[in-house]
Amino acid sequence: MTTKSATLKKKGARNIRHIVQAAFFIIVAVTTTASVLSEKGISIPFIPDASLHAVCPLGGVVSFWQLLNFGTLVKKVHESSVVLAVLGLLLALLFGPVICGWVCPFGTFQEWLGKLGRKLFGKKYNNFVPRKLDKALRYLRYLVFAWVSYMTVISGKLIFQDYDPYYALFNFWTGEVAVAGFVALGAVIVLSLFVERPFCKYACPYGAVQGVFNLLRIFGIRRNAPTCISCKACSKACPMNIDVSTSKVVRDHQCISCLECTSDAACPIPATVDMIALPGSVKDSYKKPAAAKSSAAKE
């Protein structure tokens, strides 16, 4: 296969995910818009309507406690949210957070803005935040999830709605978005020009739940060290800044299963970075470069 045809094939493979993402974005945008219009007495023929809460799995996740204890759902949450939450958890157990990488319209929105950021800042894009700070900030989303869950349990209301930039994006024209929601959306829009998927990395409560499944997932990203040429194309392609090129198996809690790092997409060597069924005992064999050097010297 020529280099040109290989490049085209990889581009085509990448586009498959972009098409799936765009399709889910359009479906959510159209159904939620139809829902708001329907409430105003305007119905669109052949378009099913559902509120954003009805098609967001987070509502289902934060309703689990109430559902298990009392058989009721948090206000504004519908049964469809629970269906999506269960579906999301099953997919995450098998393949990791595919919902984040392939389905979530807000992740897609941030990626689209990121393309603009990449044009503006080139290689500097997605590398502005110092590593240590970035690593620490990535645990913030677990705090956000803990807060959202606690507040939802004690109030029985979707407390996060007022601060949710995802809700603000799809409802900005309805008059139902709180000021904090607009502020959060504005912040995400600006940050997306510097950092890829800032909300997913630092604040998304649903991403936090999904991220934990990276430690348990059955199918995962594996790098085949013997064929790896250490070009770091996989690490550079990762929107979540995971250092794939030094891992044997990616178990990073931030992986979104986008497969951008794989030999189907960024990796230039076939069968070197792949999504495969992982044996349970395989751990991430990440070694810091210094440690790796010293162990090589001993050998």
């Binding site: 519908h78 393949f95 389905v103 997409a265 792949d274």
Partner: protein, 266 residues
């Protein structure tokens, strides 16, 4: 087994399509509420719809249908004209009309109105008030005790009296067929305008703002509380009423039993 980008696309799209279709077949794919409030579980009103479960997404017609009264009554009470409009428009309308701070006319006002109209129990938030036009309707058709209607009348909102200090509606505020209702009767005895909404707990007196911690401080043990709530208890900081509403329990029914336990501890 290796998964390519193509196969992952098929898996994701297939899982969602089949998952949603399957849930639909089994009747789990519900994206809207039924517009039917949950039933009261205990007491003399058991089986009847619970006013506390009226949601902001209900239209005036939904409320009237669910509780079996003429929709014209509730339209007249709140100065509305379009029965297909949602009741959650009230807060924006009355807020823009210059409702004093600490007073709210919103979905809880609709719950209170329905409660007084039908005689079904509901404990409203401290800040919840009714417009005077609603009091006029209740005086004519309400099934609740006169004393309860009098209590609602005592703190009812009178747009005419507030007109001199009303703030003009903000540009871009939601359009609606609801106009802040004008007084339809002169039978209202008093208009309460002070806005004391901060929660100051009176020891041993259970209200809509009481927390589980306060119940414990007043001498109720977890076992006592659980004996009333069916074996469950909320976090200490949560408000008993909100927690019960969130968990499908009826505060107005269980409040009486909790209060009896509190009184017994005195």
């Amino acid at each position: 087994m290796k998964l390519s980008i193509k196969s992952m696309a098929v898996i994701v799209v297939g899982a969602f399509s089949l998952g949603i279709a399957g849930a639909n077949l089994l009747g789990f794919w519900q994206t809207t509420s039924s517009k039917q409030p949950v039933a009261i579980k205990e007491g003399e009103f058991a089986g009847l719809p619970n006013p506390a479960d009226i949601r902001g997404s209900y239209t005036w017609a939904d409320v009237a249908n669910a509780f079996g009264f003429d929709v014209k009554l509730i339209l007249r009470a709140f100065g509305a004209s379009d029965e297909t409009e949602k009741v959650n428009a009230l807060e924006a309308i009355y807020g823009a009309a210059g409702l004093p701070a600490g007073m709210e006319i919103g979905t809880d006002s609709v719950r209170l109105f329905v409660s007084l109209l039908t005689g079904l129990p509901h404990i409203a938030e401290d800040s919840t008030v009714l417009p005077v036009s609603a009091i006029a309707v209740l005086r004519e058709s309400g099934k609740a005790e006169a004393a309860l209607i009098d209590a609602a009348a005592a703190k009812a909102y009178d747009p005419a009296k507030a007109a001199t200090s009303a703030v003009p509606a903000a540009p871009g505020s939601p359009t609606s067929s609801i106009a802040p209702a004008q007084p339809a009767s002169t039978t209202i005895t008093a208009v309460k305008t002070e806005s004391a909404t901060d929660h100051v707990a009176t020891v041993g007196a259970l209200t809509g703002k009481t927390t589980f911690q306060e119940l414990k401080d007043w001498g109720l043990g977890e076992v006592d509380i659980k004996s009333v709530t069916g074996g469950k208890i909320g976090p200490d900081a949560s408000i008993v009423k909100d927690w019960m509403a969130a968990n499908g329990l009826t505060f107005s029914e269980l409040k009486v039993r909790l209060q009896e336990l509190l009184d017994a501890k005195k």
